[in-house]
Every structure is written in C-alpha cells, then in structure tokens.
C-alpha cells in the first residue's frame, strides 16, 4: 500500500460519514447519492497529493464534497429531489417513545436540510458537522464576519423549516 493509499484509507475512515451526509443533503435519491459519494471520493483521491495542510483535512474534504455536490445539482435535469419521511426506526435506543421521537426528528432534519437553498445548505451542513465560523469561512472562501452572518441566517431558516414540519 502506498503512502497515498494509506492516507486515503485513513481519510475515508475519518471523514466518510461527513462525505455521505453532505451528499445526502444535496441528493435524496439513494442510488444517486451513492454515486455522488463516489465522485467526491474520486476527486479527493486525485486532489490528495496537492494537500499541503494550509487548512485542516476536514476543511479540505468539505470543500471538495460541497464543490462536487454543487456540480451534481447543476447537472441534474430534473427538479431537486426531497427525501420522503422514513419510518424505519433505529435499533438499540432507550425507549420506544425515544426511538420514535429520534427517528421522527432525524427524518425531518434531513428533509429540512435538503429543502434549504444552496447558500444556506452549505453553511448548515457544515455547522451541523461541528464546523466553527472560521472553518465555514475557509470552506466557502468568505471572511469570518460574513460567514457568521450567513450561519445565523441559515440556522434560523432551518429552525423555521423544522417548526413548519411539526
């Protein structure tokens, strides 16, 4: 295994879930979302040798994931697809009520993020992944104050959508 292979495998382990969730926020169709995930991986693999550590690795991955997802949206001929509410319940949760409440909120959250316009979707997905305003600014290529303003607006828009779906 080459050094690049090892770095890529490590990156996929650490940031695979981030990539999958970003892909799902743009594409509700499971098969197309999976294709988008692989497209992101391909671009990450190709860009990996140019990674110099100027930003963090997850900023690097998030930039590539959003850039590929936006290209994917631009290529899609049909209207954006939104996720149907998923009735499947996660196993191993505390009580049936908790399970239902968690699954309900999860489905509503994913559907709400998918419905956000792209400018807010980018910011919200990063914030939900735990990115701080400085990191969001680095992913977008904005200054921190502009990113902070966007972050507040995007969070408010998401809360509004969630409120509307209850």
């Amino acid at each position: 295994m080459t050094e690049r292979d090892a770095a890529f495998a490590d990156l996929a382990r650490t940031h695979g879930a981030l990539i999958a969730r970003i892909a799902r926020s743009y594409e509700a169709n499971a098969a197309l979302a999976e294709e988008l995930v692989q497209d992101i991986y391909l671009n990450v693999w190709q860009a990996l040798p140019s990674f110099r550590g100027d930003a963090s690795l997850r900023t690097f991955v998030a930039r590539i994931a959003h850039n590929r997802a936006i290209s994917h949206v631009a290529r899609q001929a049909r209207a954006p697809r939104f996720m149907e509410l998923d009735d499947a319940l996660p196993a191993g949760a505390a009580s049936p009520e908790d399970v239902v409440a968690h699954a309900d909120l999860r489905a509503k959250l994913e559907a709400a993020v998918q419905r956000l316009p792209v400018n807010q979707k980018v910011v919200v997905t990063l914030a939900l992944e735990g990115f701080q305003a400085e990191e969001i600014a680095a992913v977008l290529g904005l200054n921190v104050s502009a990113a902070t303003v966007r972050l507040h607006r995007a969070k408010a828009a998401l809360q509004e959508l969630l409120k509307g779906s209850t």
């Binding site: 890529f8 996929a12 695979g16 879930a17 981030l18 990539i19 999958a20 969730r21 892909a23 799902r24 999976e34 995930v37 692989q38 497209d39 991986y41 391909l42 693999w45 190709q46 860009a47 140019s50 990674f51 690097f60 930039r63 590539i64 959003h66 850039n67 590929r68 936006i70 290209s71 949206v73 631009a74 290529r75 001929a77 996660p90 968690h102 909120l105 999860r106 959250l109 994913e110 993020v113 316009p117 792209v118 400018n119 980018v122 914030a127 939900l128 992944e129 735990g130 680095a138 992913v139 977008l140 290529g141 904005l142 502009a146 303003v149 966007r150 969070k155 998401l158 809360q159 969630l162």
Partner: protein, 186 residues
C-alpha cells in the same frame, strides 16, 4: 424549537455508510477519459489539417496551403486559449469554485459556438477547394474518398459540438442560478 446541540447530535446519527467502492471509482475515472479523448481528437484534427496544408505547399498551391495552415493555427490557438482561462482545483473554496464553474461553462459555450462557425467555415473552405481542384484536374476516386472522410469528420464534430453546446447552455443556466443563490447575502 429544537436546541442546536440536539440537532447536531441527531444529524451525526444519520446513517452514513460511505466507503470508497473500487469498482465505482474505476468506472467514474473512465469517464475522465472522455475529455482526454476530445483533446486528442482536436490534436489529431489539427495535425491532419496541418499535413494537408504542408501537402498543398509541396504541390505548389501556395495560397490554399497558407490559408489551410492559418486556419488550423487559428482554431488550435482559440481552443488552447479557451481551455487555459479557468483552471480549477477540486479543493477551491466553494464561492471560487462556483465562479470558476460559471466561467468555464461560459467559455465552453463560446468555444462550442466558435467550433460550429469553424465547421461552417471549413465546409465553405472544402467546397471552394474542391471547385478549384476539380476545375484544374477532375477529382479521382481517391480524392473523392478523402473528401468523404473530411465531410464525415466534420459531421461528427458538428453533432458532438451541438450535443456539448446544449448541455453547456443548460449547465450555465443552473450554475448562474446557484451562483446567484450563493452571493445573494453579500
């Protein structure tokens, strides 16, 4: 209203199985060859055009030879120029990446129009060439075969360019809408 920390927790509990699939990566990488193929077919066309130009000069047909070489040089230079205008990296910041994607789609659209005009000019050029040649010496079977290959090649280029142009026009409209959405808060 749900607390943001709760939302973060719920978001990160979303099922996210996303391992890189070697087969799928290979399949996607194969598509990258399409753009390489287009570049090589442009190079092949330029070499063939230059060879015809040199052949005409050797045949003492100075005007047609120079015109052919000038035409090939102009088309090749415009293609190279268009490709060099908007280099992008996969990890560019999102705003820059979208800006570059819009620019590339615009350049692609212009390049496709330029190619269509070039094909039209080529057809006129071939027609004049054939008329002049036929006037001097009636065209033989081999000349007609070469003419047929040239016309088929131009038809393939026209079809491919039209397909690309329509796709780029659609891409451009969507990318401009996405760009407008991304910059509307600034």
């Amino acid at each position: 209203m749900t607390d943001w920390d709760d939302l973060e927790r719920v978001w990160r509990s979303l099922p996210a199985k996303a391992a890189p699939a070697a087969d799928e990566l290979r399949r996607l990488a194969r598509w990258r060859w399409l753009s390489t193929l287009v570049v090589w077919s442009e190079v092949a066309t330029a070499i063939a055009g230059a060879a015809v130009g040199v052949w005409l000069l050797v045949q003492d047909d100075f005007v047609l030879g120079v015109a052919t070489l000038a035409f090939v040089a102009a088309v090749s230079w415009s293609s190279w120029w268009a490709r060099s205008l908007a280099p992008a990296k996969a990890d560019d910041p999102v705003m820059l990446a979208v800006e570059l994607a819009v620019r590339r789609a615009r350049i692609g659209t212009r390049l496709a129009f330029a190619i269509l005009w070039s094909v039209a000019a080529s057809l006129v050029f071939v027609a004049v060439f054939v008329l002049l040649m036929d006037h001097a010496v009636p065209l033989g079977r081999s000349s007609l075969a070469i003419l047929g290959v040239v016309l088929i090649w131009l038809a393939v280029w026209t079809g491919g360019t039209l397909f690309y142009l329509l796709r780029r026009i659609r891409d451009l409209a969507r990318l401009e809408a996405l760009k407008a959405s991304l910059v509307q808060e600034d």
